[in-house]
């Protein structure tokens, strides 16, 4: 058995190419607070390549109390060393090094990710996850200098079925289907045909296509139902399948938004991603639509019909489009990547992150927040400022609460918030900088998921801050 056996399960989530990226990745951990160690643990278990741990402190009683990964017989030893040894023991495949130093120059080597869990840390050269837990509250901040994702893996896969804009052969097929015949025939008409016919009927009756949400999900739905009038309910499964998939009829335009938002940089020839984007723009100009992907959903119909649709009609078009697109890429991209790109055209995503410096100077205002997470964010900024001034965390002493309240008021003005409930200010004073493993476990779990996204370049990482409120078990994302 190879050592890869134990990664069997996760590989099915991010694929062998994702696993390879993980196994080649170098990760730097700055500071050994529970949340940082927790994050790293969740990367060591799935087999991250190499870890570098930097921490200036030695193990104290309080580390033993709040950090599972620091054994009780290690007091006085370097935190970085103790943590590294414990983590590497969990997975023999992972290698690493530790440094007990005050100032560590991160720019000397390359890192695929930096995890920082001391106070605010700013760095713009590498992927960065910055973490803080404070009592029952937690904060995670992501930054990436360059974030273009092909494999976004959306929760609901969008299929490009060309129902709205069928290519020639498909249109001929759609038009050849009659809605007359016995029950067996009617109940096996594929839903894509039903959606196409309903669109035509809708257009004929109203002189336009449905465009608003209510037109699509109320009026258009009625048109679909009118196509199966008189058919007994148990034979209308395919028509209800059409209703469930109404959105698929209007999917064809998805790619436009994502394509327009992507700016091509100067070094277009050096980066496969920009070669693909520029090829896509040319392709759309010539063909009026992007190359067709091979993903084809299951649908109620005769297997024979399904095979004909998938292999003959759509399949032929997929191959034709692939070859045309491949030509536009001028041998700068390998076929496997081209195919991956075509499959994901509907869901491409690019993120431009605000830097930590920008956020510290002026966070974006949030208007419609409906939970406490935004309040906790302002309070975390406030206690951090308190720490910078006093070199300790605020306590429940009257002097501290007053001083903190002044900082809070100042932070509120910065983001245009009137005031913060006094109860919350009192609550955060109660924490006195406590770091709980229970909160670290949640935040570290989420942080390692974002880490996997940044390292494998799959799924869409958050942009840019997540606040976890342990009092109510809720977490929200903000772009600060």
């Amino acid at each position: 058995m190879s050592s890869n056996d134990k990664y069997d399960r996760q590989v099915r989530i991010w694929g062998p190419h994702g696993q390879t990226k993980l196994q080649n990745a170098r990760v730097l951990l700055l500071g050994c607070d529970p949340v940082g160690v927790e994050t790293l643990k969740n990367l060591v278990l799935p087999g991250i390549g190499y870890v570098v741990i930097v921490d200036s402190k030695v193990v104290t009683e309080s580390d033993i109390e709040n950090n599972f990964f620091i054994p009780h017989d290690t007091i006085g030893q370097s935190r970085a060393k103790v943590v590294l040894e414990y983590l590497l023991e969990m997975n023999q495949d992972v290698k690493g090094e530790w440094h007990q130093v005050e100032n560590f120059d991160v720019k000397e080597q390359h890192y695929d990710l930096i995890i920082a869990n001391e106070q605010r840390f700013s760095e713009t050269k590498f992927n960065l996850i910055e973490l803080q837990t404070y009592g029952l509250v937690g904060r995670m901040r992501l930054y990436s200098p360059k974030c273009h994702i092909i494999e976004t893996k959306p929760m609901n896969q969008k299929y490009d079925l060309r129902i709205f804009n069928p290519f020639q052969e498909l249109k001929e097929y759609f038009d050849s289907i009659e809605f007359e015949g016995d029950v067996d025939y009617l109940s096996h008409i594929p839903y894509i045909v039903i959606l196409y016919k309903a669109l035509q009927k809708y257009h004929k009756e109203k002189g336009k296509y449905p465009s608003t949400f209510s037109e699509k999900h109320k009026d258009f739905k009625q048109v679909i139902l009118s196509l199966c009038e008189g058919l007994e309910y148990q034979y209308t499964g395919n028509f209800y399948e059409a209703i469930d998939n109404i959105d698929q009829a209007f999917n064809s335009e998805n790619w436009k938004n994502s394509l327009e938002s992507i700016e091509i940089e100067q070094d277009v020839n050096e980066d496969q991603y920009f070669v693909l984007i520029s090829a896509l723009r040319q392709f759309v100009q010539i063909h009026g639509a992007p190359p067709l992907g091979k993903a084809f959903p299951d649908m109620k119909c005769f297997t024979q019909t399904y095979v004909h649709l998938k292999n003959t009609l759509y399949g032929t078009k997929v191959e034709k489009d692939f070859q045309a697109f491949q030509a536009l890429c001028q041998n700068k991209v390998d076929d496997e990547t081209i195919r991956l790109f075509i499959e994901n055209i509907q869901d491409l995503k690019s993120i431009t992150y605000r830097t930590i410096q920008q956020e510290l100077q002026q966070p974006n205002e949030v208007e419609d927040y409906d939970n406490d997470c935004y309040i906790w964010y302002i309070l975390l900024r406030s206690v951090n400022e308190f720490y910078n001034t006093n070199n300790r965390w605020p306590t429940q002493e009257k002097g501290d609460t007053q001083q903190l309240q002044e900082i809070v008021d100042k932070q509120c003005r910065l983001v245009n918030v009137d005031s913060i409930p006094e109860t919350h200010v009192i609550e955060i004073c109660r924490y006195e900088g406590a770091k709980l493993h229970m909160i670290a476990s949640v935040l570290g779990g989420m942080a390692s998921q974002e880490a996997v996204k940044l390292i494998t370049n799959q799924f869409v990482p958050i942009n840019n801050t997540l606040i976890y409120n342990g009092l109510k078990s809720e977490a929200s994302i903000f772009e600060f």
Partner: protein
Amino acid sequence: MNYNYPNIRILMVGVGGIGCEILKIVSKFTFQEFHIIDMDTIEVSNLNRQFLFRLEHRGQSKSLVAAETMKNMAPQLKIIAHFAAINSPGYTMDFFRQFDAVIMALDNAETRSYVNKVCQALGIFIVDAGSMGFKGQANAYYQGTVCYDCYPIATTQKQYPACTIRSQPSNCTHCVIWAKYLFTQLFSGEVGILEVEGFDKSQPNSVFNKFFKGEEMPNSIDIVEHELIKKYHFAERKETLEELQGMWFYAYDELNHLGQLQYDKDDDLHVLFIYASTALRCRNFKIEQYDYQQIKSISGNIIHAIASTNSIVAALEIQRLLSFIENHDKAKYYQDLNAASYVQTGKKERILTLKAAGPNPLCNSCFHNQIYSKVDFQVVKVVDLVNQLKNYLNSEINIVSLSRIIWDDEDEDDNSAIRDKKLNELFKLDLDNRLVIKSIEEKFLAVFWLQHLAGQAEIQFASTKISDKLLKFKNPLQHKKKERVRTQQEIKELKETEVMPIKNPEKFQTAAQKSTEILIDEEPIEQAEQNKKVELVID
């Protein structure tokens, strides 16, 4: 912030991925006793998330190794480990009674449902968590709140024991899962539950004989003369054995040459192999086979667990437990209890805690009518027990055990076969026997817990706080009249508003609640059955 609970006794069921994370979180806590129970042993594929175990522990008991490891990390925790199944002899209601709360750290629906039933009957607080890929969920259940079994919609995803898949398939889904393992173990080089040794991988005949020929199968298949078939095209009829072999040998040879592969249900060649393997295995075990589309769809729906999500849901679960222990205004606490936390909702809110619907009045796991009795099974006759029970309930009844009617006052003939038998001929002595009683006049339903107690010849009943409510219980059968067919859209809306107040519940919530190991969408036929259950209008 200290977590010392010298009077609290906890039972954790399951010491897998979530269980390890829970032990990590409570490692700094103090309880009176912390029991852990698991019947499983450690496998290599556990190691990427069950971090209390090391390679050298392979084959040892999860609960015993975890307890040993924790002795060093958390000497104050007083862990007591049980290497057993939670529903095995010795772990009856009397075992459960000693605990204040139960933590479910399980990977399958059956055990969750079992633990839920027992704890509902005894009034023990439960926290539960589940994960699936990046998504997960944490819940708390208590008497009078929504329980694990209340909304069976969640059971559209199931876990299957490895031995069923390996050697005793009873439906086509089992065969698809088996075929999927065959694929990943042969072509992806992954570890799995099948034995992939004792054949020559470069010889297709040798591989075929290993997996489809053998005395242990009801119908061993020999290699016959066949022509290779490159594409599935049998729409109108079942393929012949020659044709299936034609597909299998073609697909095997191609895939074997391609090397390291990840299964892709949109790749026809991959599906061809899964289809042919499934169909052949169905014939091996004389099982009715699904069609190509269904097999393809099932093969694409197996989802797996990762460490990070376990770490999140375990912490959410413990937060639930702590707020239960620390909240002294219990009555108010229970009111707010019907809330579930969801992880990775795909929206701005990454973790959401929402109030769920109230208990389902049709759910027989949590309704109030629970009756208990301990008698000597070797002495008491069925007819005596039933007569006294009818007397106690003042009603004609029928009794159901494990979905089988064992007594029916409307059918004297059937009763005659068992009336004079001793209870031990029907029930096990060392387990809780859980029976469902229905009054003939449809006045009530009740759960009857029957246990053996040597020397107890006299029949006595106890019912919890509910005896006075017994006959006032709202007849659940009346609800049936309102049954009507709902559209898929309406069911979706229903799920969102009443049961699962969350977008995309079908993919996310159902599985998250249930299982972490092998998850799979049930076949469409059964799914329709499942949907029917929520079609009842509950008001």
